[in-house]
Protein backbone atom coordinates (compact mmCIF):
# COMPACT_ATOMS: atom_id res chain seq x y z
CA UNK A 1 0.00 0.00 0.00
CA UNK A 2 1.34 3.40 -1.01
CA UNK A 3 1.11 6.44 1.28
CA UNK A 4 -1.57 7.87 -1.01
CA UNK A 5 -3.83 4.92 -0.12
CA UNK A 6 -3.66 5.57 3.63
CA UNK A 7 -6.56 7.18 5.47
CA UNK A 8 -6.06 10.83 6.35
CA UNK A 9 -6.16 10.21 10.11
CA UNK A 10 -3.32 7.65 9.83
CA UNK A 11 -1.24 10.00 7.68
CA UNK A 12 -1.73 12.73 10.30
CA UNK A 13 -0.37 10.35 12.99
CA UNK A 14 2.57 9.18 10.89
CA UNK A 15 3.47 12.78 10.16
CA UNK A 16 3.40 13.74 13.83
CA UNK A 17 5.58 10.74 14.70
CA UNK A 18 7.92 12.01 11.96
CA UNK A 19 7.79 8.58 10.27
CA UNK A 20 6.88 10.30 7.02
CA UNK A 21 7.16 13.85 5.74
CA UNK A 22 4.46 15.98 4.14
CA UNK A 23 6.59 16.00 0.98
CA UNK A 24 6.58 12.16 0.97
CA UNK A 25 2.78 12.17 1.18
CA UNK A 26 2.30 14.75 -1.58
CA UNK A 27 4.83 13.03 -3.83
CA UNK A 28 3.04 9.71 -3.35
CA UNK A 29 -0.24 11.31 -4.47
CA UNK A 30 1.45 12.97 -7.44
CA UNK A 31 2.90 9.61 -8.53
CA UNK A 32 -0.57 8.04 -8.34
CA UNK A 33 -2.03 10.89 -10.38
CA UNK A 34 0.72 10.44 -12.96
CA UNK A 35 -0.02 6.72 -13.09
CA UNK A 36 -3.83 6.67 -13.39
CA UNK A 37 -5.20 10.10 -14.23
CA UNK A 38 -4.21 10.50 -17.89
CA UNK A 39 -4.55 13.91 -19.49
CA UNK A 40 -6.46 16.59 -17.59
CA UNK A 41 -9.81 17.92 -18.74
CA UNK A 42 -9.22 20.64 -21.35
CA UNK A 43 -11.48 22.91 -23.36
CA UNK A 44 -11.97 21.76 -26.98
CA UNK A 45 -9.94 18.57 -26.47
CA UNK A 46 -10.46 16.13 -29.34
CA UNK A 47 -11.36 12.62 -28.15
CA UNK A 48 -8.50 10.11 -28.19
CA UNK A 49 -8.60 6.34 -27.97
CA UNK A 50 -6.47 6.17 -24.84
CA UNK A 51 -8.94 8.43 -22.97
CA UNK A 52 -10.89 5.29 -22.07
CA UNK A 53 -7.99 3.91 -20.04
CA UNK A 54 -7.57 6.68 -17.43
CA UNK A 55 -9.54 8.42 -14.68
CA UNK A 56 -9.23 12.10 -15.82
CA UNK A 57 -10.24 13.56 -12.47
CA UNK A 58 -8.27 16.78 -12.82
CA UNK A 59 -8.72 20.04 -14.66
CA UNK A 60 -5.83 21.89 -12.99
CA UNK A 61 -3.04 20.18 -11.07
CA UNK A 62 -1.29 22.58 -8.68
CA UNK A 63 1.71 20.35 -7.92
CA UNK A 64 4.23 23.13 -7.27
CA UNK A 65 1.88 24.97 -4.92
CA UNK A 66 1.22 21.70 -3.06
CA UNK A 67 4.91 20.83 -2.75
CA UNK A 68 5.72 24.32 -1.46
CA UNK A 69 3.02 23.94 1.23
CA UNK A 70 4.35 20.47 2.11
CA UNK A 71 7.89 21.79 2.51
CA UNK A 72 6.56 24.53 4.77
CA UNK A 73 4.76 22.00 6.99
CA UNK A 74 7.90 19.84 7.20
CA UNK A 75 9.94 22.89 8.16
CA UNK A 76 7.43 23.85 10.87
CA UNK A 77 7.38 20.30 12.28
CA UNK A 78 11.21 20.23 12.31
CA UNK A 79 11.22 23.54 14.19
CA UNK A 80 8.82 22.10 16.77
CA UNK A 81 6.02 24.49 15.76
CA UNK A 82 2.33 23.66 16.11
CA UNK A 83 0.65 22.42 12.95
CA UNK A 84 -3.08 21.99 12.29
CA UNK A 85 -5.08 18.75 12.65
CA UNK A 86 -4.98 18.13 8.89
CA UNK A 87 -1.30 19.03 8.46
CA UNK A 88 0.18 17.39 5.40
CA UNK A 89 -3.09 15.80 4.23
CA UNK A 90 -3.67 16.29 0.50
CA UNK A 91 -7.12 17.10 -0.85
CA UNK A 92 -8.66 17.91 -4.20
CA UNK A 93 -11.19 20.68 -4.80
CA UNK A 94 -14.20 20.51 -7.09
CA UNK A 95 -13.58 23.29 -9.62
CA UNK A 96 -16.67 25.16 -8.46
CA UNK A 97 -14.79 26.76 -5.55
CA UNK A 98 -12.81 29.96 -5.90
CA UNK A 99 -9.18 29.49 -4.89
CA UNK A 100 -7.10 32.63 -5.23
CA UNK A 101 -4.60 32.49 -8.07
CA UNK A 102 -6.02 29.30 -9.60
CA UNK A 103 -8.21 28.77 -12.64
CA UNK A 104 -11.77 28.45 -11.34
CA UNK A 105 -13.80 27.20 -14.29
CA UNK A 106 -17.04 25.56 -13.06
CA UNK A 107 -16.17 23.21 -15.98
CA UNK A 108 -17.69 25.81 -18.31
CA UNK A 109 -16.28 27.72 -21.26
CA UNK A 110 -17.79 30.89 -19.84
CA UNK A 111 -15.35 30.76 -16.88
CA UNK A 112 -12.55 28.93 -18.68
CA UNK A 113 -10.12 31.84 -18.25
CA UNK A 114 -11.24 32.99 -14.79
CA UNK A 115 -8.50 33.22 -12.16
CA UNK A 116 -10.15 33.68 -8.77
CA UNK A 117 -9.05 36.77 -6.82
CA UNK A 118 -10.16 35.28 -3.47
CA UNK A 119 -10.50 31.89 -1.76
CA UNK A 120 -13.66 30.06 -0.65
CA UNK A 121 -14.07 29.77 3.13
CA UNK A 122 -14.20 25.94 3.05
CA UNK A 123 -10.88 25.81 1.20
CA UNK A 124 -9.15 28.41 3.38
CA UNK A 125 -10.29 26.61 6.56
CA UNK A 126 -8.89 23.31 5.28
CA UNK A 127 -5.63 25.05 4.41
CA UNK A 128 -5.52 26.74 7.81
CA UNK A 129 -5.86 23.26 9.34
CA UNK A 130 -2.75 22.28 7.36
CA UNK A 131 -4.38 20.37 4.50
CA UNK A 132 -2.68 20.66 1.12
CA UNK A 133 -4.66 21.28 -2.09
CA UNK A 134 -3.41 19.15 -5.00
CA UNK A 135 -5.55 20.84 -7.60
CA UNK A 136 -8.99 21.49 -9.03
CA UNK A 137 -11.05 18.54 -10.23
CA UNK A 138 -13.70 18.10 -12.90
CA UNK A 139 -17.50 18.28 -12.51
CA UNK A 140 -20.65 18.62 -14.56
CA UNK A 141 -20.80 22.10 -16.08
CA UNK A 142 -21.88 24.42 -13.22
CA UNK A 143 -22.69 21.11 -11.37
CA UNK A 144 -25.64 20.45 -13.71
CA UNK A 145 -25.73 16.68 -14.03
CA UNK A 146 -25.39 13.31 -12.35
CA UNK A 147 -22.72 11.75 -14.55
CA UNK A 148 -20.02 14.41 -15.03
CA UNK A 149 -20.46 14.09 -18.81
CA UNK A 150 -21.70 17.66 -19.27
CA UNK A 151 -18.29 19.19 -18.47
CA UNK A 152 -16.86 21.45 -21.18
CA UNK A 153 -13.42 20.16 -20.12
CA UNK A 154 -12.85 16.84 -21.87
CA UNK A 155 -12.09 14.00 -21.40
CA UNK A 156 -14.76 13.68 -18.70
CA UNK A 157 -13.80 11.72 -15.56
CA UNK A 158 -14.39 7.96 -15.51
CA UNK A 159 -15.28 5.55 -12.73
CA UNK A 160 -12.09 4.01 -11.26
CA UNK A 161 -13.98 0.74 -10.56
CA UNK A 162 -14.88 0.32 -14.23
CA UNK A 163 -13.59 2.89 -16.69
CA UNK A 164 -16.53 2.36 -19.05
CA UNK A 165 -18.91 3.66 -16.37
CA UNK A 166 -19.59 7.20 -15.23
CA UNK A 167 -18.19 8.24 -11.86
CA UNK A 168 -21.49 10.02 -11.20
CA UNK A 169 -21.95 13.71 -10.78
CA UNK A 170 -21.74 16.39 -10.32
CA UNK A 171 -18.73 15.91 -7.98
CA UNK A 172 -17.32 13.29 -10.40
CA UNK A 173 -13.68 14.39 -10.34
CA UNK A 174 -13.80 14.60 -6.54
CA UNK A 175 -15.03 11.05 -5.96
CA UNK A 176 -12.87 9.61 -8.74
CA UNK A 177 -9.74 11.21 -7.26
CA UNK A 178 -10.50 9.80 -3.80
CA UNK A 179 -11.49 6.32 -5.04
CA UNK A 180 -8.35 6.06 -7.19
CA UNK A 181 -6.06 7.04 -4.30
CA UNK A 182 -5.01 10.33 -5.90
CA UNK A 183 -5.95 12.09 -2.65
CA UNK A 184 -7.46 10.92 0.65
CA UNK A 185 -9.96 13.80 0.74
CA UNK A 186 -11.94 15.94 -1.66
CA UNK A 187 -14.19 18.95 -1.30
CA UNK A 188 -17.53 18.59 -3.07
CA UNK A 189 -20.97 20.17 -3.26
CA UNK A 190 -24.44 18.65 -3.12
CA UNK A 191 -27.56 20.40 -4.45
CA UNK A 192 -29.65 17.29 -5.17
CA UNK A 193 -27.20 14.47 -4.46
CA UNK A 194 -24.02 15.68 -6.15
CA UNK A 195 -21.82 14.39 -3.31
CA UNK A 196 -23.81 11.32 -2.28
CA UNK A 197 -24.66 9.85 -5.69
CA UNK A 198 -21.12 9.90 -7.13
CA UNK A 199 -19.64 8.80 -3.78
CA UNK A 200 -21.95 5.75 -3.92
CA UNK A 201 -21.04 5.07 -7.56
CA UNK A 202 -17.32 5.13 -6.70
CA UNK A 203 -17.43 3.30 -3.35
CA UNK A 204 -16.41 6.20 -1.08
CA UNK A 205 -17.90 8.08 1.86
CA UNK A 206 -19.67 11.39 1.21
CA UNK A 207 -21.57 13.77 3.43
CA UNK A 208 -24.09 16.42 2.53
CA UNK A 209 -24.14 18.42 5.76
CA UNK A 210 -27.14 20.33 7.07
CA UNK A 211 -27.82 23.45 4.99
CA UNK A 212 -25.86 26.23 6.70
CA UNK A 213 -23.36 23.92 8.44
CA UNK A 214 -20.54 24.86 6.06
CA UNK A 215 -20.15 28.32 4.54
CA UNK A 216 -20.95 28.73 0.84
CA UNK A 217 -18.71 31.78 0.48
CA UNK A 218 -16.57 31.31 -2.63
CA UNK A 219 -18.79 28.55 -4.01
CA UNK A 220 -20.08 29.39 -7.48
CA UNK A 221 -23.83 29.36 -6.87
CA UNK A 222 -26.33 26.99 -8.49
CA UNK A 223 -29.43 26.66 -6.28
CA UNK A 224 -28.70 28.97 -3.39
CA UNK A 225 -31.34 27.51 -1.07
CA UNK A 226 -30.18 23.95 -1.78
CA UNK A 227 -26.37 24.07 -2.26
CA UNK A 228 -24.34 22.37 0.48
CA UNK A 229 -20.55 22.06 0.79
CA UNK A 230 -19.31 18.72 2.11
CA UNK A 231 -16.49 16.21 2.52
CA UNK A 232 -15.65 13.15 0.40
CA UNK A 233 -13.28 10.57 1.88
CA UNK A 234 -12.55 6.84 2.02
CA UNK A 235 -13.63 6.44 5.64
CA UNK A 236 -16.14 7.93 8.06
CA UNK A 237 -13.35 9.13 10.36
CA UNK A 238 -11.70 11.05 7.54
CA UNK A 239 -15.00 12.66 6.53
CA UNK A 240 -15.55 13.68 10.17
CA UNK A 241 -12.04 15.18 10.41
CA UNK A 242 -12.66 17.16 7.26
CA UNK A 243 -16.06 18.48 8.35
CA UNK A 244 -14.56 19.45 11.72
CA UNK A 245 -12.14 21.77 9.96
CA UNK A 246 -14.78 23.42 7.75
CA UNK A 247 -17.99 23.71 9.79
CA UNK A 248 -19.23 26.79 11.57
CA UNK A 249 -20.44 30.34 11.04
CA UNK A 250 -18.75 32.70 8.61
CA UNK A 251 -19.17 36.47 8.45
CA UNK A 252 -19.12 36.18 4.63
CA UNK A 253 -22.18 33.89 4.45
CA UNK A 254 -25.35 35.03 6.16
CA UNK A 255 -26.83 31.52 5.83
CA UNK A 256 -23.94 29.83 7.67
CA UNK A 257 -25.74 28.99 10.89
CA UNK A 258 -24.58 30.00 14.34
CA UNK A 259 -24.98 26.50 15.74
CA UNK A 260 -22.13 25.13 17.90
CA UNK A 261 -19.91 22.62 16.08
CA UNK A 262 -19.63 19.42 18.16
CA UNK A 263 -16.46 17.33 18.42
CA UNK A 264 -17.17 14.88 15.60
CA UNK A 265 -14.28 12.57 16.52
CA UNK A 266 -14.93 12.21 20.26
CA UNK A 267 -18.19 10.25 19.90
CA UNK A 268 -17.32 8.44 16.68
CA UNK A 269 -17.04 5.00 18.30
CA UNK A 270 -19.80 5.36 20.91
CA UNK A 271 -21.95 2.79 19.09
CA UNK A 272 -25.61 2.68 18.14
CA UNK A 273 -27.11 0.97 21.19
CA UNK A 274 -30.54 2.45 21.88
CA UNK A 275 -30.71 4.42 18.65
CA UNK A 276 -33.87 4.16 16.55
CA UNK A 277 -33.17 3.70 12.85
CA UNK A 278 -35.99 3.72 10.32
CA UNK A 279 -36.65 1.95 7.03
CA UNK A 280 -39.19 3.41 4.61
CA UNK A 281 -40.91 1.58 1.75
CA UNK A 282 -40.97 4.95 -0.05
CA UNK A 283 -37.18 4.76 -0.38
CA UNK A 284 -37.21 1.19 -1.67
CA UNK A 285 -39.00 1.94 -4.93
CA UNK A 286 -38.68 4.53 -7.64
CA UNK A 287 -41.34 6.57 -9.34
CA UNK A 288 -40.74 8.03 -12.76
CA UNK A 289 -42.83 9.66 -15.46
CA UNK A 290 -43.76 8.24 -18.82
CA UNK A 291 -43.35 11.34 -20.94
CA UNK A 292 -45.63 10.03 -23.67
CA UNK A 293 -48.63 9.17 -21.51
CA UNK A 294 -47.99 11.55 -18.60
CA UNK A 295 -48.56 8.55 -16.29
CA UNK A 296 -46.22 7.73 -13.43
CA UNK A 297 -44.74 4.27 -13.16
CA UNK A 298 -43.42 2.67 -10.02
CA UNK A 299 -40.92 -0.12 -9.67
CA UNK A 300 -38.98 -1.77 -6.88
CA UNK A 301 -35.24 -1.19 -6.64
CA UNK A 302 -32.84 -3.84 -7.93
CA UNK A 303 -32.55 -6.72 -5.46
CA UNK A 304 -28.85 -6.08 -4.76
CA UNK A 305 -29.56 -2.48 -3.70
CA UNK A 306 -32.39 -3.27 -1.28
CA UNK A 307 -30.47 -6.29 0.06
CA UNK A 308 -27.58 -3.96 1.02
CA UNK A 309 -30.00 -1.78 2.99
CA UNK A 310 -31.64 -4.73 4.80
CA UNK A 311 -28.23 -6.18 5.62
CA UNK A 312 -27.10 -2.85 7.09
CA UNK A 313 -30.29 -2.76 9.17
CA UNK A 314 -29.56 -6.27 10.46
CA UNK A 315 -26.01 -5.32 11.36
CA UNK A 316 -27.10 -2.17 13.18
CA UNK A 317 -29.82 -4.13 14.96
CA UNK A 318 -27.19 -6.67 16.05
CA UNK A 319 -25.22 -3.75 17.51
CA UNK A 320 -28.15 -2.71 19.67
CA UNK A 321 -30.09 -0.27 17.47
CA UNK A 322 -33.83 -0.57 17.21
CA UNK A 323 -34.99 -0.89 13.60
CA UNK A 324 -38.34 0.75 12.88
CA UNK A 325 -39.93 -0.53 9.68
CA UNK A 326 -42.66 0.87 7.44
CA UNK A 327 -41.87 4.51 8.11
CA UNK A 328 -44.08 6.50 5.72
CA UNK A 329 -42.33 9.18 3.64
CA UNK A 330 -45.23 9.85 1.24
CA UNK A 331 -43.86 13.02 -0.34
CA UNK A 332 -40.49 11.55 -1.37
CA UNK A 333 -41.80 10.91 -4.88
CA UNK A 334 -42.47 14.63 -5.39
CA UNK A 335 -38.84 15.55 -4.72
CA UNK A 336 -37.76 15.60 -8.35
CA UNK A 337 -40.75 17.49 -9.83
CA UNK A 338 -40.43 20.16 -7.11
CA UNK A 339 -36.68 20.28 -7.70
CA UNK A 340 -37.17 20.74 -11.46
CA UNK A 341 -38.94 23.99 -10.60
CA UNK A 342 -37.09 25.38 -7.55
CA UNK A 343 -33.55 24.62 -8.68
CA UNK A 344 -34.15 25.98 -12.20
CA UNK A 345 -35.56 29.26 -10.91
CA UNK A 346 -32.54 29.70 -8.64
CA UNK A 347 -30.10 28.61 -11.37
CA UNK A 348 -31.54 31.02 -13.94
CA UNK A 349 -31.20 33.85 -11.46
CA UNK A 350 -27.63 32.90 -10.53
CA UNK A 351 -26.55 32.52 -14.17
CA UNK A 352 -27.63 36.00 -15.24
CA UNK A 353 -24.34 37.41 -13.93
CA UNK A 354 -22.31 35.77 -16.71
CA UNK A 355 -22.40 38.36 -19.45
CA UNK A 356 -18.88 38.75 -20.84
CA UNK A 357 -18.38 42.15 -19.22
CA UNK A 358 -16.50 41.90 -15.93
CA UNK A 359 -14.80 38.50 -16.06
CA UNK A 360 -14.79 35.19 -17.89
CA UNK A 361 -15.32 34.50 -21.57
CA UNK A 362 -16.32 37.27 -23.99
CA UNK A 363 -17.38 36.66 -27.59
CA UNK A 364 -14.94 37.70 -30.31
CA UNK A 365 -17.90 39.14 -32.30
CA UNK A 366 -19.61 41.76 -30.16
CA UNK A 367 -20.36 43.86 -33.31
CA UNK A 368 -20.39 47.11 -31.34
CA UNK A 369 -23.69 46.28 -29.68
CA UNK A 370 -23.94 45.47 -25.96
CA UNK A 371 -27.01 43.27 -26.43
CA UNK A 372 -25.22 41.22 -29.05
CA UNK A 373 -22.22 40.96 -26.75
CA UNK A 374 -24.45 39.47 -24.03
CA UNK A 375 -26.23 37.05 -26.35
CA UNK A 376 -23.22 35.81 -28.23
CA UNK A 377 -21.08 35.52 -25.10
CA UNK A 378 -23.75 33.48 -23.35
CA UNK A 379 -24.51 31.37 -26.40
CA UNK A 380 -20.85 30.56 -27.04
CA UNK A 381 -19.91 30.33 -23.34
CA UNK A 382 -22.66 28.14 -21.89
CA UNK A 383 -23.14 24.48 -22.79
CA UNK A 384 -26.57 22.92 -23.37
CA UNK A 385 -27.34 22.08 -19.74
CA UNK A 386 -26.92 25.61 -18.32
CA UNK A 387 -29.00 26.98 -21.23
CA UNK A 388 -31.74 24.46 -20.52
CA UNK A 389 -31.78 25.40 -16.82
CA UNK A 390 -31.98 29.09 -17.61
CA UNK A 391 -34.90 28.58 -20.01
CA UNK A 392 -36.78 26.29 -17.64
CA UNK A 393 -36.21 28.60 -14.68
CA UNK A 394 -37.45 31.63 -16.59
CA UNK A 395 -40.54 29.82 -17.85
CA UNK A 396 -41.74 28.43 -14.51
CA UNK A 397 -41.14 31.73 -12.69
CA UNK A 398 -42.85 33.88 -15.32
CA UNK A 399 -45.66 35.96 -13.84
CA UNK A 400 -48.43 33.93 -15.45
CA UNK A 401 -47.06 30.52 -14.33
CA UNK A 402 -45.36 31.17 -11.02
CA UNK A 403 -48.43 30.35 -8.88
CA UNK A 404 -48.99 27.12 -10.77
CA UNK A 405 -45.38 26.00 -10.71
CA UNK A 406 -43.03 27.93 -8.43
CA UNK A 407 -45.34 28.56 -5.48
CA UNK A 408 -46.73 25.05 -5.68
CA UNK A 409 -43.22 23.59 -5.71
CA UNK A 410 -42.34 25.60 -2.60
CA UNK A 411 -45.45 24.27 -0.86
CA UNK A 412 -44.49 20.73 -1.83
CA UNK A 413 -41.11 21.50 -0.31
CA UNK A 414 -42.95 22.20 2.96
CA UNK A 415 -44.65 18.78 2.71
CA UNK A 416 -41.29 17.09 2.17
CA UNK A 417 -39.85 18.90 5.20
CA UNK A 418 -42.87 17.85 7.28
CA UNK A 419 -42.27 14.18 6.40
CA UNK A 420 -38.84 14.45 8.05
CA UNK A 421 -40.05 16.52 11.00
CA UNK A 422 -42.65 13.85 11.74
CA UNK A 423 -40.20 10.93 11.80
CA UNK A 424 -37.46 12.73 13.76
CA UNK A 425 -39.79 14.40 16.30
CA UNK A 426 -38.56 13.18 19.74
CA UNK A 427 -42.14 13.10 21.02
CA UNK A 428 -43.71 11.87 17.78
CA UNK A 429 -44.76 8.36 16.76
CA UNK A 430 -41.42 7.38 15.16
CA UNK A 431 -38.74 9.20 17.22
CA UNK A 432 -35.99 8.20 14.78
CA UNK A 433 -32.32 9.03 15.11
CA UNK A 434 -31.84 8.33 11.41
CA UNK A 435 -33.53 6.94 8.32
CA UNK A 436 -31.58 4.23 6.49
CA UNK A 437 -32.07 4.18 2.70
CA UNK A 438 -30.24 3.22 -0.48
CA UNK A 439 -28.16 6.11 -1.86
CA UNK A 440 -29.00 5.50 -5.51
CA UNK A 441 -31.64 3.48 -7.38
CA UNK A 442 -28.90 1.62 -9.31
CA UNK A 443 -25.10 1.38 -9.55
CA UNK A 444 -23.05 3.52 -11.97
CA UNK A 445 -24.41 3.47 -15.52
CA UNK A 446 -22.31 3.23 -18.71
CA UNK A 447 -20.91 6.43 -20.17
CA UNK A 448 -23.21 7.78 -22.87
CA UNK A 449 -26.22 5.73 -21.67
CA UNK A 450 -28.26 8.60 -20.19
CA UNK A 451 -26.49 11.83 -21.12
CA UNK A 452 -28.68 14.12 -23.23
CA UNK A 453 -31.94 12.94 -21.63
CA UNK A 454 -32.27 15.67 -19.01
CA UNK A 455 -35.32 14.11 -17.34
CA UNK A 456 -33.88 10.62 -16.81
CA UNK A 457 -30.58 12.13 -15.63
CA UNK A 458 -32.45 14.14 -13.00
CA UNK A 459 -34.38 11.10 -11.78
CA UNK A 460 -31.06 9.47 -10.82
CA UNK A 461 -31.12 11.84 -7.80
CA UNK A 462 -34.53 10.66 -6.62
CA UNK A 463 -33.36 9.18 -3.31
CA UNK A 464 -31.12 12.17 -2.50
CA UNK A 465 -33.02 15.32 -3.36
CA UNK A 466 -35.54 15.30 -0.47
CA UNK A 467 -32.68 15.99 1.98
CA UNK A 468 -31.77 19.11 -0.01
CA UNK A 469 -35.36 20.34 0.00
CA UNK A 470 -35.57 19.74 3.76
CA UNK A 471 -32.06 21.01 4.51
CA UNK A 472 -31.21 17.92 6.60
CA UNK A 473 -27.87 16.05 6.52
CA UNK A 474 -27.25 12.84 4.54
CA UNK A 475 -24.27 10.50 4.74
CA UNK A 476 -23.50 7.86 2.11
CA UNK A 477 -21.40 4.81 2.94
CA UNK A 478 -19.98 2.10 0.69
CA UNK A 479 -21.98 -1.08 1.33
CA UNK A 480 -20.63 -3.70 -1.04
CA UNK A 481 -20.30 -4.49 -4.73
CA UNK A 482 -22.88 -5.76 -7.19
CA UNK A 483 -22.44 -8.82 -9.41
CA UNK A 484 -20.50 -6.73 -11.91
CA UNK A 485 -18.13 -5.45 -9.23
CA UNK A 486 -19.68 -1.96 -9.09
CA UNK A 487 -20.01 -0.22 -5.71
CA UNK A 488 -23.36 0.06 -3.93
CA UNK A 489 -24.07 2.83 -1.41
CA UNK A 490 -26.38 3.17 1.57
CA UNK A 491 -27.57 6.50 2.91
CA UNK A 492 -28.32 7.74 6.44
CA UNK A 493 -30.58 10.79 6.77
CA UNK A 494 -30.86 12.59 10.10
CA UNK A 495 -32.43 15.63 11.75
CA UNK A 496 -30.92 19.13 11.39
CA UNK A 497 -27.30 19.34 12.55
CA UNK A 498 -27.11 15.62 13.48
CA UNK A 499 -23.90 15.00 11.53
CA UNK A 500 -22.22 13.66 14.69
CA UNK A 501 -24.90 10.98 15.08
CA UNK A 502 -24.72 10.01 11.39
CA UNK A 503 -20.95 9.65 11.70
CA UNK A 504 -21.36 7.43 14.79
CA UNK A 505 -23.83 5.15 12.97
CA UNK A 506 -21.61 5.13 9.88
CA UNK A 507 -18.52 4.26 11.89
CA UNK A 508 -20.37 1.43 13.69
CA UNK A 509 -21.41 -0.03 10.34
CA UNK A 510 -17.88 0.41 9.00
CA UNK A 511 -16.30 -1.43 11.96
CA UNK A 512 -18.87 -4.23 11.80
CA UNK A 513 -18.17 -4.84 8.11
CA UNK A 514 -14.41 -4.40 8.33
CA UNK A 515 -13.67 -8.02 7.51
CA UNK A 516 -16.21 -8.32 4.67
CA UNK A 517 -14.47 -9.65 1.53
CA UNK A 518 -15.66 -6.66 -0.57
CA UNK A 519 -13.69 -4.32 1.71
CA UNK A 520 -10.51 -5.87 0.25
CA UNK A 521 -11.53 -5.22 -3.36
CA UNK A 522 -9.75 -2.38 -5.13
CA UNK A 523 -10.92 -0.25 -8.05
CA UNK A 524 -10.05 -1.82 -11.39
CA UNK A 525 -7.77 1.06 -12.30
CA UNK A 526 -5.57 0.13 -9.30
CA UNK A 527 -5.92 -3.63 -9.61
CA UNK A 528 -4.38 -3.28 -13.10
CA UNK A 529 -1.00 -2.75 -11.53
CA UNK A 530 -0.82 0.57 -9.73
Amino acid sequence: MELCDYPAYELALLLRQRSVSAVDIVESCLRRIEMVDGRPGTLDAEPREDDASAVHAFITLTAERALAQARDIDRRLAAGEEVGPLAGIPFTVKDIFAVRGTLTTAASRILSNFVAPYTATAVSRLEEAGAIMLGKVNLDEFTYGSSNESTAFKPAPRNPWNLSRVPGGSSGGSVASVAAGEAPLSLGTDTSGSIRLPAAYCGVVGLKPTYGRVSRFGLIAFGSSLDCVGPIARSVTDAALMLQAMAGPDPYDSTAARVPVPDYIAKLEDGVRGMRIGLSPDYLRITYPNLETGEYGEQPLPEEISAAVYRAAEILSGLGAEIVEDVPMPNTRYGIPAYFVISRVEAASNLHRYDGVKYGYRTARPDDDLNLLYRRTRNEGFGQQPKLRILMGMYVSAAQYSQQYYRKALQVRTLIRQDFERIFDPSGPYRLDALLTPTTPAPAFPMGAVYGDSVMMQYADQLNVAANHAGIPGLTLPAGLDAEGLPIGIQLLGPDFSEDRLFTIGRSYEMATESDPWRKARPAVLAMGA
Binding site: P117, Y359, N379, L391, A409, T414
Partner: protein, 107 residues
Protein backbone atom coordinates in the same frame (compact mmCIF):
# COMPACT_ATOMS: atom_id res chain seq x y z
CA UNK B 1 -44.67 11.98 -28.60
CA UNK B 2 -44.33 14.21 -25.59
CA UNK B 3 -47.05 16.75 -24.96
CA UNK B 4 -46.07 20.20 -26.17
CA UNK B 5 -46.34 22.72 -23.38
CA UNK B 6 -44.64 25.53 -25.21
CA UNK B 7 -44.73 26.37 -28.86
CA UNK B 8 -41.92 27.77 -30.93
CA UNK B 9 -43.06 31.36 -30.54
CA UNK B 10 -43.03 31.18 -26.73
CA UNK B 11 -39.71 29.37 -26.84
CA UNK B 12 -38.14 32.08 -29.01
CA UNK B 13 -39.45 34.72 -26.62
CA UNK B 14 -37.84 32.90 -23.69
CA UNK B 15 -34.57 32.73 -25.58
CA UNK B 16 -34.71 36.52 -26.00
CA UNK B 17 -35.42 37.05 -22.30
CA UNK B 18 -32.60 34.70 -21.36
CA UNK B 19 -30.17 36.77 -23.49
CA UNK B 20 -29.24 33.75 -25.58
CA UNK B 21 -28.81 33.26 -29.32
CA UNK B 22 -29.30 29.67 -30.45
CA UNK B 23 -28.62 27.86 -33.68
CA UNK B 24 -31.31 25.54 -35.02
CA UNK B 25 -29.80 22.28 -33.70
CA UNK B 26 -29.53 23.70 -30.19
CA UNK B 27 -33.02 25.18 -30.33
CA UNK B 28 -34.49 21.85 -31.37
CA UNK B 29 -32.78 19.93 -28.53
CA UNK B 30 -33.53 22.55 -25.88
CA UNK B 31 -37.18 22.92 -26.84
CA UNK B 32 -37.69 19.15 -26.78
CA UNK B 33 -36.01 18.79 -23.36
CA UNK B 34 -37.89 21.80 -22.01
CA UNK B 35 -41.18 20.18 -23.00
CA UNK B 36 -40.04 16.91 -21.40
CA UNK B 37 -39.21 18.68 -18.15
CA UNK B 38 -42.52 20.52 -18.19
CA UNK B 39 -44.22 17.18 -18.72
CA UNK B 40 -42.35 15.77 -15.69
CA UNK B 41 -43.55 18.57 -13.41
CA UNK B 42 -47.24 18.25 -14.27
CA UNK B 43 -47.50 15.86 -11.31
CA UNK B 44 -47.19 18.90 -9.04
CA UNK B 45 -50.59 20.16 -10.12
CA UNK B 46 -52.29 16.98 -8.87
CA UNK B 47 -50.81 17.16 -5.36
CA UNK B 48 -53.54 18.24 -2.97
CA UNK B 49 -52.28 21.07 -0.76
CA UNK B 50 -54.09 23.32 1.62
CA UNK B 51 -54.00 26.79 0.04
CA UNK B 52 -52.80 28.10 3.40
CA UNK B 53 -49.86 25.69 3.55
CA UNK B 54 -46.82 27.96 3.78
CA UNK B 55 -44.25 27.91 0.98
CA UNK B 56 -40.71 27.00 2.07
CA UNK B 57 -38.00 29.11 0.50
CA UNK B 58 -35.43 26.98 2.31
CA UNK B 59 -35.51 23.75 4.30
CA UNK B 60 -34.20 24.45 7.78
CA UNK B 61 -35.72 27.15 9.95
CA UNK B 62 -33.52 30.05 11.10
CA UNK B 63 -34.13 31.46 14.57
CA UNK B 64 -32.60 34.43 16.33
CA UNK B 65 -30.18 31.99 18.01
CA UNK B 66 -29.05 30.22 14.85
CA UNK B 67 -29.11 33.10 12.39
CA UNK B 68 -25.84 34.98 12.14
CA UNK B 69 -27.73 38.27 12.24
CA UNK B 70 -26.84 41.41 10.40
CA UNK B 71 -23.30 42.69 10.14
CA UNK B 72 -22.48 46.32 10.87
CA UNK B 73 -22.81 48.36 7.67
CA UNK B 74 -19.10 49.02 7.29
CA UNK B 75 -16.97 49.48 4.24
CA UNK B 76 -14.11 46.95 3.92
CA UNK B 77 -11.80 47.65 1.01
CA UNK B 78 -10.89 44.58 -1.08
CA UNK B 79 -7.16 44.03 -0.60
CA UNK B 80 -6.27 43.34 -4.22
CA UNK B 81 -8.64 45.18 -6.60
CA UNK B 82 -6.19 44.85 -9.49
CA UNK B 83 -6.68 41.09 -9.45
CA UNK B 84 -10.40 41.70 -9.98
CA UNK B 85 -9.80 44.21 -12.76
CA UNK B 86 -7.33 41.81 -14.38
CA UNK B 87 -10.27 39.44 -15.00
CA UNK B 88 -12.10 41.91 -17.24
CA UNK B 89 -11.95 40.99 -20.94
CA UNK B 90 -11.13 44.60 -21.93
CA UNK B 91 -10.05 47.57 -19.82
CA UNK B 92 -8.80 51.07 -20.50
CA UNK B 93 -7.14 53.03 -17.70
CA UNK B 94 -8.90 50.82 -15.07
CA UNK B 95 -12.29 51.26 -16.77
CA UNK B 96 -14.03 48.15 -18.14
CA UNK B 97 -14.76 48.61 -21.85
CA UNK B 98 -18.05 47.46 -23.41
CA UNK B 99 -19.67 48.21 -26.78
CA UNK B 100 -22.30 50.92 -27.07
CA UNK B 101 -25.67 50.33 -25.53
CA UNK B 102 -28.07 50.53 -28.46
CA UNK B 103 -30.55 53.40 -28.21
CA UNK B 104 -34.21 52.48 -27.99
CA UNK B 105 -37.05 54.94 -28.03
CA UNK B 106 -39.44 54.36 -25.16
CA UNK B 107 -43.09 54.52 -26.12
Amino acid sequence: MTRQFIDRETFDHLVQLAALELDETQAEYLMRELNNQLSAIQELAAIPVDPDLPASLHGIPYSAETSPGLRPDEWHPFPNPDEILAQAPETDDRYIVVPDIPHTTLE
